[in-house]
Structure formats: C-alpha cells, structure tokens
Subunit: 181 residues, 2 copies
C-alpha cells in the first residue's frame, strides 16, 4: 500500500466540461475513518521560458477570467487530447507569440495545486527563437498581447503584481539563477 493511501469506495462525477471535470470521491483514510475529496481533473498544460536573441523574456498579457484581471505570463496552454507536451509547447509558443524554435529543452514539470487538482505543467526553455514567417492562429476565444521584457522589467512587474502566477514566478527565479552563474 502506498504511504497514507486514501482508498476510493465511491466516485460521483458532478461536472464534465471543456477544461475541467469535478468528481467527489468518498475515501477510506489510513486510520479507517471516511472522508470526501473534491477533485478537479485537468488535461495538463505546458509553459515556455523563451528568450529573444537580445536576452529578453517573451511574455503574453491576457485576461484571466477566474481573477477578473489581466496577467503577464510566460506563454502557456493546455494539452489537447493525445498531444505530446513538446508538441503542445511549440504550438503554444507559435500561436501566442509568433516565434518558433528548433531547440526546446525540457526543464521540469510540476503539479500546480496538488491539494485539489491534478493539473501538471511541463516547463520548457529556449534561447533560440526566430519569428514565424506566417502567423499561426490560436484559440478563437483567446486574446493575448506579446511583450518582451528584460529580467529587471519582469521583476518590476512582479512587484506590481502584473506578473503574479506560479510558473512565471518560477521562470524569473530560474533566469536569475542562470544570470548569477
């Protein structure tokens, strides 16, 4: 048995939508008692730390409905059904920024909210981007604006909470570490 495993004895699917599925699992706890867990299923996502030839970080600003405000983030998006993370990362980079690359390096992956959701973000890095010759269209209900930021500009935006999400915060620490090497 896995450590502290919680065995499911009943699953109720509350909602199954375009992006998330919500299940309520009834579980048996390690001490034999029972509890309920609210669980969000998500297809997973990718994000790309992309640097332009002059060392600027490629970001996009977009409206984030759950927060009712715009955030500046590194390009990212969710996996289509059956899509490999690498393919998705390249697609999102092209759609959201108009850049492409031949060298996309996998850095790491992490779960964003392991307490209630299974969303995983696969994080990639490239410092070799070139502009696409022809623009690629993204999702028709997605509106994003490209930004290219020095690390200092990005850190200033973080102070102002215009950059305010986990993957972009991680990206800024990663770049700071690289620079200090």
């Amino acid at each position: 048995m896995k450590k502290f495993e919680e065995k499911t004895y009943h699953t109720e699917t509350i909602y199954s939508g375009k992006i998330v599925e919500l299940n309520i699992d009834s579980v048996t706890l390690p001490d034999g008692n029972t509890s309920k867990r609210e669980l969000i299923k998500h297809p997973g996502a990718v994000a790309v730390i992309a640097l332009t030839p002059d060392g600027k970080l490629v970001c996009v600003e977009q409206y984030r409905k759950p927060l009712e405000k715009s955030l500046v983030e590194i390009p990212a998006g969710k996996l289509e059904e059956g899509e490999a993370p690498y393919t998705c990362a390249l697609r999102e980079l092209e759609e959201e920024t108009g850049y492409t690359t031949k060298h996309l390096q996998k850095l790491t992956s992490f779960y964003t909210s392991p307490g209630f959701a299974d969303e995983i973000v696969h994080l990639y890095f490239t410092d070799e981007v070139t502009p696409l010759e022809e623009k690629v269209d993204g999702d028709e209900d997605e509106f994003v604006e490209l930004m290219e930021l020095t690390l200092e500009e990005a850190e200033q935006m973080e102070k102002e909470q215009r950059i305010h999400d986990a993957k972009t915060a991680y990206a800024l620490l990663f770049l700071k570490l690289q620079r200090d090497k």
Copy 2:
C-alpha cells in the same frame, strides 16, 4: 475597461463544496462574440519555507488524492474563512511540522492556475524555528509525515518526482539562489 476584459452576462453555480466552488460563466469577449468559462473558486492557501537551525528544509509527505500518490512538499494549507494569511501560515507550520517561529517573513504570492482557478498561494520564509512544547492537532482527515532535508536531498527528490509541485519547486530555486549569493 480592463485590457481584453470578458464581461459576464450569466453565472451558473454547478457545485459549492468544502474547498472548491465551480461556476460556469457565460461571457462576452473583446471582439463581441460569446464563450463560456469554467471557473474554480478556492479560498486561497499559504506555504512556508522553513529552515531548521542546521539549515535543513522542513517538508511534509502526504497523500495527494488528485494524483493518487504521496508528495513531499513544504508545509502548506488553505485559509479558513476570515483567516489572515500570516495566521494561517503559522498555524499550518505548527500543525504539520511541530515547529513554531516568531519570525515569519512574507516572500511573495502567486496564483497557481490562473487559467481556470483563483487559488492564490501566500509564501512565507523563516530560518528561526523552535519545536513546539505541546503538539497541535491538525485536520482530522489529514495524515502527514515530517522530513528535514538538505538542499541536495531535496533536489534529488525533485529528480525522482517525489517533490513535484509548483510551490516546493519554487522554494528549491529560492534556496539555491540564497546559497549562491
């Protein structure tokens, strides 16, 4: 109007539970078309980067039902209704690790999954912990095991994906940057 704002003209609450609420918002997009957004409301959370006097990172291992496996993470937990993040951070540190502190420094905050959820994590730091004289009980349906890790041990666990969540990945980069200073 906020940049790229999406105006809600209808909200349907699908589920309102102990931790999450799921709403479907019907929205008008910046180009006048309409779309639907699946939105998870979450009370918000805290996490603590806590170092023992000998410089080890205080972590807890716990079963994460959404992933059906145990993860090793920095201590964390969700805000109770009306609870201040600082109070919550101290409470979670005490409940999950048996340590307390008089010096809890706010580092930053970030949204974990801005595409579909409003969960925010408030991140704190302390390198001055002392063991509690009397153990404080945490949630009755929560089972955690304390671990104290050197940065090298934690990085090894990250390679093995036993450490595999955004806030702890951020914490390891933060500590690496501190050490390299």
